[in-house]
């Protein structure tokens, strides 16, 4: 197994009228080939921006991105375009992410036409193959997105992402807009495709049960910073960061015998615009101490493979 993506101290700031918005603030991680990194967090935590920056759809403010060992942080427009063949994205909204004037086969063929791949006949064959692959019946080849339901639309989006035969895909909340029974179909499809095509995923979502199901590793983000990263099972068995603990216990569990030990988080997310030099979580943290109010915690490996950024992580967890 080899490393496919390495991100070092990635930052993405946006200038907004009120100041500088720290959407992604010093994030580092690596992903091994064929694995899935789940990125979870609440709305506005920068998880979608992270996904797009890693793909180089947005230029990072600083930091380095290595894809298959190559530094792709500063590449030419042409190289960036070539990179699209290897890195793709699946969008959240199966309604607005499909051009309403394109029929299914056009939508899936569009990336191939962009690169002028295949002749007319081969192109048609290829499109039908992809439709088979994502479980779209061929009779929908000339249907328009508005004629199909959310699940099928999302299959089109997945087909479009797979058309160029990429190795790495960012899934940006691909099942959030779907009903549970359809959601399960799409999750299974994504897993099957991963097995068949040796795909590597970054799976961005706010849904913790989904991320647990599909991920190898999970990274928890909070207002632009990563607060905890470790293997999926470990995170649910032994969350170390106080935010993760609160987040996990806040999920309503569909089991009436589930023992609720709720760590209720008070308050709401603070603003990501010009954040003060303090732990981003300090205002909601039940364990906050003086050091949390004057210094941002650094990211450290607390136990093997388990990274946390919290000043008091050892005291809180009795390590």
């Amino acid at each position: 197994m080899s490393e496919i993506l390495r991100v070092e101290h990635l930052k993405k700031f946006f200038d907004v009228p009120a100041g500088t918005l720290h959407a992604v603030d010093d994030v580092s991680f690596t992903i091994q080939e064929g694995q899935t990194l789940g990125v979870v967090g609440e709305s506005g935590c920068g998880k979608s921006t992270l996904g797009r920056t890693v793909l180089k759809l947005i230029e990072p403010t600083s930091g380095k991105i290595f894809f298959e060992g190559r530094d792709i942080t500063d590449i030419s427009k042409h190289e960036n375009r070539e990179l699209r063949k290897k890195m793709q994205i699946i969008f959240q909204d199966p309604f607005s992410s499909l051009n309403p004037r394109f029929c299914v086969s056009d939508l899936i063929a569009d990336p191939l036409k962009t690169f002028g791949m295949y002749g007319k006949k081969e192109l048609e064959e290829r499109v039908l193959e992809i439709m088979d692959l994502v479980g779209l019946s061929r009779r929908y080849a000339y249907s328009y997105p508005h004629e199909l339901d959310g699940g099928r639309r999302q299959r089109i989006g997945i087909g479009r992402a797979l058309a160029l035969d990429p190795e790495f895909i960012v899934c940006d909340e691909p099942v959030s807009a779907l009903d549970v029974s359809i959601q399960a179909q799409i999750l299974n499809l994504l897993q099957d495709l991963q097995d068949k095509r040796k795909l590597t995923y970054i799976f961005v979502t706010h849904d913790l049960s989904v991320v647990k199901h599909i991920s190898t590793d999970i990274m928890v983000m909070y207002i632009g910073v990563m607060v905890e990263k470790c293997p999926a099972k470990e995170l649910f068995a032994r969350p170390l960061h106080p935010y993760t603990k609160g987040l996990l216990s806040a999920i309503p569990v569909p089991n009436i015998h589930h023992e609720q030990k709720r760590v209720q988080l008070q308050g709401e997310l603070s603003s990501p615009i010009d954040p003060a030099e303090e732990c981003r979580f300090v205002k909601r943290c039940p364990y906050a101490t003086d050091i949390c109010r004057c210094k941002q915690p650094t990211y450290e490996e607390v136990t093997p493979g388990h990274f946390v950024s919290c000043h008091n992580v050892r005291e809180i967890n009795g390590l």
């Binding site: 959310g150 399960a184 913790l208 216990s249 806040a250 309503p252 569990v253 009436i256």
Partner: protein, 324 residues
């Protein structure tokens, strides 16, 4: 008698070309102080049911084609418009999914709540605004924020304002349509806890519409599972969660990734919900069912009480074995 009792309610949307059977003969009952969870997927008819209770089904194209809705012993479908207007907002109020659009952006939140109170109780303006501050404090918003405008509140706080407004007249029944779907998990937990707490303190009954079985497990007393306009299973929390009988209910549980157990693959329900304008002749779930038999496609299953208080609409409860 229960606070709310719905019998054989049928609501249709009639267009030139087709008749959409949004709600198809449902029976529901909510006792005083209890919460009923109405669970189902998009298009199952949950919201139409809620609008039906409030007399707000858009007409045209919506028509209440039959049934009775008894509220405090009175049939709302036979009541005059003026009577329903008095009940709506006063004795029954509703919380919508999106708190952003439920508030008027140019009126201070305190005034918006006071307006509702003044309208229904007929008290003076100063009394109403004192009461509105009381309501805001009840939902955990400091009194001084009552002079702020909606855009100054975050999503979770806005939903609290909406809840305060809905509870302002101390309704007997609160209809909450996906009240926390637009909120983040940690905020959702806060709002749900607050709603649970208020429900007990004010002895309000609640109809909670949701697609999230986790929320149901935490807040409801009874559960109704809705599919293609029908209630396919109805019972107490224990009935539904410990002994689900309808294949659709079982399928729903199989579709949710579990936090407790490690499952490699989910077992989704295959296929899609049938087109409500073109429902099959027999059981609506037949197409997607794992234990269907010939009879399912032919005749609609009966709504049977399989144990006291536990109703299921399925002809093959024993896995279809009796049919072989």
């Amino acid at each position: 008698m229960s606070l709310l009792e719905i019998r054989d309610l049928t609501i249709q949307y009639k267009t030139r070309k087709s008749v959409v059977e949004a709600v198809n003969g449902i029976n529901l009952k909510i006792d005083e102080g209890k919460t009923l969870g109405l669970v189902g997927e998009t298009g199952a008819g949950k919201t139409t049911t809620a609008l039906g209770i409030l007399g707000l089904v858009p007409n045209p194209p919506g028509v209440i084609a039959g049934g009775e809705i008894y509220f405090e012993g009175k049939d709302l479908l036979k009541a005059k418009d003026s009577e329903i207007r008095k009940i709506r907002g006063n004795k029954i109020s509703m919380i919508f999914q999106d708190p952003m659009t439920a508030l008027n952006p140019v009126i201070r939140v305190g005034d918006q709540i006071a307006e509702v109170i003044a309208l229904h109780s007929g008290c003076s303006k100063s009394e109403a605004s004192a009461k509105s501050i009381e309501m805001l404090e009840l939902v955990g918003i400091r009194a001084e924020r009552s002079t702020e405008y909606p855009h100054q509140f975050s999503g979770g706080m806005k939903q609290r304002v909406v809840i305060a407004m809905a509870l302002a007249c101390q309704p007997k029944l609160l209809i909450a349509d996906e009240p926390t779907t637009a909120l983040d998990v940690t905020i959702q937990a806060q709002v749900l806890e607050m709603m649970n707490d208020l429900k007990v303190r004010l002895n309000t009954s609640m109809l909670l519409i949701t697609h999230d079985l986790g929320i149901v497990a935490e807040t409801c007393d009874d559960v109704a599972i809705m599919y293609a306009g029908q209630i396919v299973e109805y019972g107490t929390l224990a009935h539904i969660f410990d002994n689900p009988m309808h294949p659709y209910t079982i399928g729903l549980f199989g579709s949710i990734p579990s936090l407790d157990k490690d499952v490699d693959r989910l077992t989704p329900i295959p296929g899609l919900m049938p087109d409500p304008a073109n429902l099959p002749k027999g059981c609506n779930f037949c197409e997607r069912c794992t234990r269907k038999c010939d009879r399912c496609a032919e005749s609609e299953p009966e709504y049977l009480e399989v144990e006291p208080g536990h109703f299921v609409r399925c002809s093959n409860l024993n896995g279809g074995a009796e049919n072989v």
